[in-house]
Symmetry: C2
Subunit: 512 residues, 2 copies
């Protein structure tokens, strides 16, 4: 057994079943091993940002890591921006990065780069395999690191000779670390605070946005009057009828400040500190009032569900009682607008859909607007590195082939990773992509106005992606994805129904 075979067998033994890949020369022994040893589904991406983003979407839906296969430092580099998003989503992932043979690297051939250095910025675990005899154990350690709560990026660099040499040993699967629970005294303290008179604001993230944990958070809020919101960026939220219609902290700084205004206590439950995505001159950096006290009730790596359940018990919160939200059944006609689109989407969303949101400026109302729709999962860009949507939708489609993925995609962000459409076509994934074609970096035009600039030709040329207009229908068709253009809401409704009835991918260019 060579090193590559021990690596594949270790990944399989540790429960990795899917590998998103863009291989190169130094990975050929690994590819040959994947070919010989059954059990790993391999999915090709035409650029590494698709590979890593798809592995993120897969893991968000499966709650277990996929592997990626990347080619040397530059291949890893191409995948870093979506690894950054995955890190912010607390996604488990195991990257296998091929590299120069250990003894060849000192000669500095052309493709040699600082593979470890680039990996470290996104990885909780970075290791370069030293030999065929140990790469199996390295892989087992990488999977364990990836599965450590709340989910981490593990990167194993595999020099070519550690794959081709004989003497591979399959690594024993290592135990899955158990997240720590929140101490009873912290539960009692927080219950006292919430029962008190001072305004409390709970910010929830991670596992607190799904299933019973989300119900508990909502029950606690209802019982105590404390406000509750999801953090700004979330890997996955369970949503729609039957789920508490929790709101998210707005991305817009002024709106977020308004939402948290008057809070005396900010309680973090699996959430990061609520801060502005960027600093602005003469505006605060955090979203809560200066005189608020921040309480970390449960850190992201702790058992959020247990913490919320214990707190709900301590408070004696009544059973979940959800507000009645009128389900939209209205299919808008005529002119396209955010409001008309939101209503139509809410009316036509397929049962049990997976919604992927990288709509950026056009879609600020979608999350709340779908609160009364059929049950669905909501995935979003998490790290601000645009080009997350198409890959996430691709990975979610691989993870859940019997559910429909509705990928809500801003055009500028979509162009970063448009190659992902090809993988959707190859794998015949159930993905409906709606591209909001405004032919601008609309969010940046707003940001430029914020800095007081009245944009001239030079600035507009950097913020406007028309001239020439991108034809998204041809773009999709070029990669084997059926597509149509919607100039009105009527067009959209027709196309959206057609798309969702399809067994494969379909793209709708919505002219906004």
């Amino acid at each position: 057994m060579n090193g590559a075979e021990s690596l594949v067998k270790t990944l399989l033994a540790s429960g990795i079943r899917t590998c998103f890949a863009n291989p190169g020369t130094s990975e050929m022994h690994f590819v040959a091993a994947l070919d010989r040893i059954p059990g790993m589904k391999c999915v090709l991406g035409l650029t590494e940002s698709v590979v890593t983003g798809a592995a993120d979407g897969y893991a968000r839906m499966r709650d277990e890591p996929a592997a990626t296969l990347l080619h040397c430092g530059p291949g890893l580099a191409n995948g870093l921006s979506n690894l950054h998003n995955a890190r912010r989503a607390q996604t488990p992932m195991v990257n296998i990065v091929g590299d120069q043979a250990t003894y060849h690297r000192p000669l500095d051939p052309a493709l040699t780069a600082d593979t470890e250095g680039w990996a470290r910025g996104v990885s909780a675990f970075t290791r370069t395999a030293r030999s065929a005899a140990t790469i199996g154990a390295d892989a087992a350690a990488a999977v364990q690191a990836a599965r450590t709560a709340p989910g981490r990026i593990a990167t194993l660099i595999a020099p070519a000779d550690t794959c081709w040499e004989e003497g591979g040993v399959v690594g024993e699967p290592l135990p899955m670390p158990t997240p720590s629970t929140v101490a009873p005294h912290k539960v009692a303290e927080l219950a006292r605070l919430l029962r008190g008179k001072e305004p409390c604001f709970m910010v929830v993230g991670g596992a607190g946005l799904r299933g019973k944990a989300l119900d508990d958070a909502y029950r606690i809020s209802a019982a105590t009057g404390a406000k509750v919101m999801a953090q700004v960026f979330n890997g996955r939220v369970e949503r729609g009828r039957g789920c508490p219609p929790i709101q998210k902290l707005p991305y817009n700084l002024d709106q977020a400040l308004a939402a948290m205004a008057g809070s005396r206590h900010v309680i973090l439950i699996g959430s990061v500190l609520p801060v502005a995505p960027f600093a602005y001159p003469n505006k605060p950096g955090h979203l809560f009032p200066d005189d608020a006290t921040v309480h970390v009730f449960a850190r992201p790596e702790e058992d959020i569900a247990q913490a919320l359940a214990a707190l709900a018990d301590e408070i004696g919160a009544p059973a979940l009682s959800l507000p009645v939200i009128a389900a939209s059944t209205e299919i808008a006609r005529g002119a396209i607008s955010q409001e008309a689109f939101t209503r139509t989407l809410a009316a036509l969303l397929p049962e049990n859909a997976i919604v992927v949101d990288e709509s950026v400026s056009f879609g600020r109302s979608f999350f709340n607007g779908l609160a009364g729709a059929v049950p669905h999962d909501w995935l979003q860009i998490t790290g601000g590195a645009i080009g997350n949507g198409i890959p996430l939708a691709t990975g979610a489609g691989v993870a859940c082939p019997s559910r429909r993925v509705v990928s809500l995609q801003a055009d500028g962000a979509g162009m970063f990773t448009v190659q992902g459409l090809w993988t959707q076509a190859r794998e015949k994934l159930p993905v409906t992509t709606v591209v909001f074609s405004n032919r601008k970096y609309q969010i940046l035009l707003g940001e430029l106005a914020n800095v007081g600039a009245n944009p001239g030709r030079v600035a507009l040329d950097m913020l406007d992606i028309g001239r020439p207009d991108i034809n998204w229908v041809k773009m999709a068709e070029a990669m084997g994805v059926e597509a149509g253009r919607a100039e009105t809401m009527d067009d959209f409704a027709d196309l959206f129904r057609t798309a969702n009835a399809s067994s494969g991918p379909f793209l709708i260019e919505l002219m906004t």
Copy 2:
């Protein structure tokens, strides 16, 4: 004057006239400054790998750096693979990377990443600006570093507050460092060696592949009988009638070993050590015989042209006498083959063309095949990080709007940075792209065969990019580039003539 304005004015004062850009929120003050201060041509790329690759192509043709504008760590990360190629091409470049405000970064907002850490792997100069008062001086130092021979990557990270604060000071342009010359005793020693009986092999890189320096290298070879070849990966070679028809060391390891077999002395003249691009089991790592002695006559950062001129003088090499290479005038008909394509290309290449080669497996014969064609410059992928071609062609087109760029592009590699076609359309660049559409990672099928594997379904699925086939005509048209498909050599000749007569970009999908 705010920091951003001082930054723009410093870049202009230091001779930077072009900025390839993909900006984000943290760069809005810089964008506003570019808008207010005339003199900088700004070119938008729809993903950062296009931005950095275009800056590389620009600098290779202009012999001076362009700036790039990138958005935070993830934006830089997207551009790293083509920065890696640029570093290997010894390209001067100044990256301006926006980032979180200095005081906001500790709050770790979502887009915060290890910007400096990622920059270091490709940059000879990495600095994070500390204040508006000093960012001008930082920019001047960055330009000086970029211009230091033979050309380096300089990365200046500009936190948002160092741009928006008042108190900017324009940095004085710093002197351009003079490359050191080769000492006379080294010239005399090498002349003695070359006049001796032992077989010598000169490997030339950098400035040694252009103009009089290339002539001198060829003259020295002719006078002494020493073999001369270009290194495997070269940023730019002057080529065609009137230029010495120097060959390149082959990419293929066995062919390269054969080319250098029997050499007793290997003389590096602006070249890296000739090594295998990857290690292979039981094959040597360097391309020269084990018993050869390596002599570094001129390091890449030294004055290569001076070194070659001095050596030619010392030897008393006769005037340049070029072999007569029959110019191909044959326009092949019928079936498409590498050989037929090479002949047709040689016959129809536009005068003074810039050829960009990322043809990978299909194009191994192009370089030598064009030796008798009209004079042209030859640019190629230099660091092995595929996705270099379309961006290089884009940058070369911006640099030299009155010359025709002929971009020879493998399909698999082309998909990594296909977004660059849009920039070609927007800027109406004179680029003819020929996509070799074999719908495979052909080079990897060869590499897989080398490791002795008989590929099964899993391996083929990772090396085959058909199913679905990519329609390159629609792909180009989707981004505003006129396009046509060639099924025969006749089609190709017609389309190539049409393309080269156009004032803007044109793409030909050649079905190989």
